[in-house]
């Protein structure tokens, strides 16, 4: 870094590095240039910004990154294939530092007409569905990260499930982020389109191999046509020094059903903005979350559940486990527009504090413009229940076991609703690992 570069703005500095990365497709390249213009000369939001109140980007602002794709031969772990869930054995795409790896991907046994492919290839080949939908869903006001991703993305996933096709086994999108001496940035893009009466489960898995600093800035766009069903599991297990800033937007049509389960475990700073728009009647959306933070980690989830039409239901159970000096932030907006009569919206944010020094911020925000609706929301912050702790200890279980068992019990309903057995198993191991890292209950008492 030259002194000169240090003075320039973070976003400009990043964009500068990416000059060559434009899509081969003309229209997409146009989108990319426009997005780049949008953030040129812009500063990162500060904590004075209402939506960034508890999520400081000061340290990110000071970092410098090279495009991940420019790292010539990443330190790929030998057992990379071991991160593929057995259920996704036949359909998975793997990305190494955001770059598509054909060798580690497999898409056999897919029904006719289904596309599971690298987005860059699909766009280059001019796939109309992809081109038509790209950039149409992920829209936030006053947000630099979607445009950043749009401006510089190259590889990513494109999934298309045609009318009437149901895929029972999950499709895994595996993002392996390697340990490197250089700090890198990547902006993978995912676009999922489910046609009428389609069914699919998509698992988005971001895994850091080391404890290095990198910046992962993914954007996912989901579009579901009438009568379609999608389950979307996201696991964020990035390096503990990583920055993970992601955007997820889903448009859900009439009689359709979208269920998202987002699990945040890694990163020093993880910020995820999710938005579900229920665009027509009889739609359901679930945006559940499980967050575990310890050490100095911060995990911030901002969600928007947008009810625009009548007779829709939504479900949000967001659970956070906070240990050490960890911080969790949950800001959940529910809009019930004027036409959205008979909306049934449920939102609950529960925080389990395992230490005295952790922090949880919860802010439910309901904006209701219809009169005949049922909306419930609640936020709780609590410690392990002392009566439960005592009960287990009178059975001879030690502090660590007690803590592990009860923490697992707290996380269980989110874990159990994820319909992939090996992910459930993985998560119970993650809870175990998390609680073992902790100090004993006694020390904290």
């Amino acid at each position: 870094m030259t002194d000169n570069a240090k003075e320039t703005l973070f976003l400009d500095r990043l964009l500068d590095r990416f000059d060559a990365a434009k899509s081969a497709h003309e229209k997409v390249a146009g989108l990319q240039s426009e997005a780049a213009r949008e953030i040129t000369g812009k500063e990162l939001p500060t904590t004075r910004h209402e939506e960034w109140k508890y999520c400081s980007l000061k340290s990110l602002n000071k970092e410098s990154f090279v495009p991940a794709a420019s790292i010539p031969s990443p330190n790929l772990p030998k057992d990379a294939i071991g991160y593929i869930y057995p259920e996704a054995e036949h359909h998975h795409l793997t990305f190494i530092n955001g770059v598509f790896s054909e060798a580690l991907s497999k898409t056999d046994r897919l029904p006719d007409g289904v596309i599971v492919a690298n987005l860059a290839d699909v766009l280059r080949d001019g796939n109309e569905i992809a081109i038509e939908n790209l950039g149409e869903l992920a829209k936030w006001e006053d947000d630099p990260f979607v445009p950043l991703n749009t401006a510089v993305f190259r590889d990513g996933a494109f999934i298309y499930v045609p009318k009437g096709v149901k895929i029972a086994d999950p499709i895994q999108l595996l993002f392996i982020n390697t340990e490197e001496a250089e700090q890198y940035v990547m902006a993978p893009r995912c676009l999922v389109v489910g046609d009428q009466f389609s069914e699919m489960t998509v698992v988005e898995d971001h895994i850091g191999m080391g404890s290095n600093v990198y910046f992962n800035c993914p954007v996912s766009e989901i579009k579901l046509a009438e009568n379609s069903h999608m389950t979307h599991v996201k696991l964020q297990r990035d390096s503990r020094q990583a920055y993970h800033i992601s955007r997820l937007a889903a448009d859900i049509s009439r009689d359709s059903d979208y269920k998202s389960y987002a699990v945040q475990l890694g990163s020093q700073l993880s910020r995820s903005d999710v938005k579900a728009v229920l665009t027509d009647e009889n739609t359901h959306a679930t945006l559940d979350g499980l967050v575990m933070v310890n050490g100095e980690q911060l995990s911030d989830t901002h969600s928007v559940m947008d009810h625009t039409m009548p007779n829709c239901t939504s479900h949000q159970l967001h659970k956070c486990i906070i240990d050490g000096n960890g911080t969790s932030v949950f800001n959940g907006k529910i809009f019930v527009r004027q036409d959205a009569q008979k909306t049934d919206a449920f939102q609950e944010n529960r925080n389990l504090q395992l230490s005295n020094s952790g922090t949880a911020y919860a802010k439910p925000q309901l904006e209701i413009f219809a009169d005949d609706v049922s909306c419930s929301h609640g936020a709780t912050i609590g410690q392990l229940n002392p009566e439960e702790v005592f009960y287990l200890k009178t059975r001879g279980l030690q502090d660590a076991q007690t803590r592990e068992i009860l923490t697992y019990g707290f996380a269980l309903d989110v874990i159990e609703s994820i319909p992939v057995a090996s992910i459930q198993k993985r998560l119970s191991k993650e809870v175990e690992k998390f609680t073992r890292e902790s100090k004993s209950i006694k020390e904290l008492a």
């Binding site: 009566e387 005592f390 030690q398 007690t402 068992i405 019990g409 006694k442």
Partner: protein, 255 residues
């Protein structure tokens, strides 16, 4: 086995136990009776090591050792067991998993190898029979959705698995139907032996028809107002607690 000397204890600044003396020897069964709120559960919980209660005076000696500084889990591993008046529901943990982990902790303490799930399955068969409990309860989460009586029976199943030296049974009889009371009492009797002791908190003579106490103590307002043999329970049943209170008001101390 257990010696309690002049035990005073308080919770959130309220004194609940106001000088308890109690000596329980191996092979004995002690029944603790007394009105609601007199401190029976508190006494049991303090012996088990509940952190909310502060012992302000006196001491509890178990097998020659002062329990004051001992964590509840260590007490449990040394052979103290408490069957709760209100057993706690633990979501996310199967009953068999809890019992296996608990039993293995005790085995570890004794320098024995832990049992794996299959070995434990074999081990627990007899225990289930002892309290006539269906094996389907093993896979359910601890006490979750159990009926009142099922919870009580489950406490005694855990006692059977852990085979404690000193069992503190807090109103195990309340909530049990007539048959269940007979079965569970029979189980407790089989677990009692010359090396074990039982402190049984109850309101009713009924259970004492099955489990014959060597001593009956009446706890009133944080003090043992009267102690006697098994006949005392019958007298109480007949006359009520006022009779004890009236009897002891002679020395002017009790309220």
């Amino acid at each position: 086995m257990l010696t309690i000397k002049n035990l005073h204890a308080e919770v959130e600044g309220n004194e609940i136990l106001k000088g308890i003396d109690l000596e329980i020897k191996a092979g004995e069964v002690h029944a603790i009776m007394g009105p609601n709120g007199s401190g029976k559960s508190t006494l049991a919980k303090i012996v088990a090591g509940h952190p909310s209660y502060e012992v302000t005076k006196g001491e509890i000696i178990y097998e020659g050792e002062d329990l004051a500084e001992m964590e509840p889990d260590e007490r449990a591993r040394r052979g103290i067991f408490m069957a709760f008046q209100y057993p706690v529901e633990i979501p996310g943990v199967s009953n068999s998993m809890l019992m296996r982990e608990a039993y293995n902790e005790i085995r570890k303490e004794k320098g024995l190898d832990p049992l794996d799930p299959l070995e434990f399955e074999d081990y627990i068969v007899d225990k289930l029979n002892l309290v006539e409990m269906d094996a389907k309860f093993l896979d359910r989460n601890v006490n979750a959705g159990f009926s009142g009586g099922e919870k009580k029976r489950n406490e005694i199943l855990q006692m059977a698995v852990l085979n404690p030296k000193l069992a503190l049974l807090d109103e195990t009889d309340s909530g049990l139907d007539i048959d269940a009371l007979r079965i569970v009492s029979g189980g407790i009797n089989k677990l009692a032996g010359k090396d074990n002791a039982i402190m049984l908190v109850t309101h009713y003579q009924r259970i004492l028809n099955y489990i014959t106490p060597d001593f009956v103590h009446v706890l009133v307002n944080g003090r043992i107002q009267k102690s006697g043999g098994k006949e005392l329970a019958l007298e109480l049943e007949e006359h009520g607690y006022e009779w004890v209170t009236a009897n002891t008001e002679v020395n002017g101390e009790a309220k």
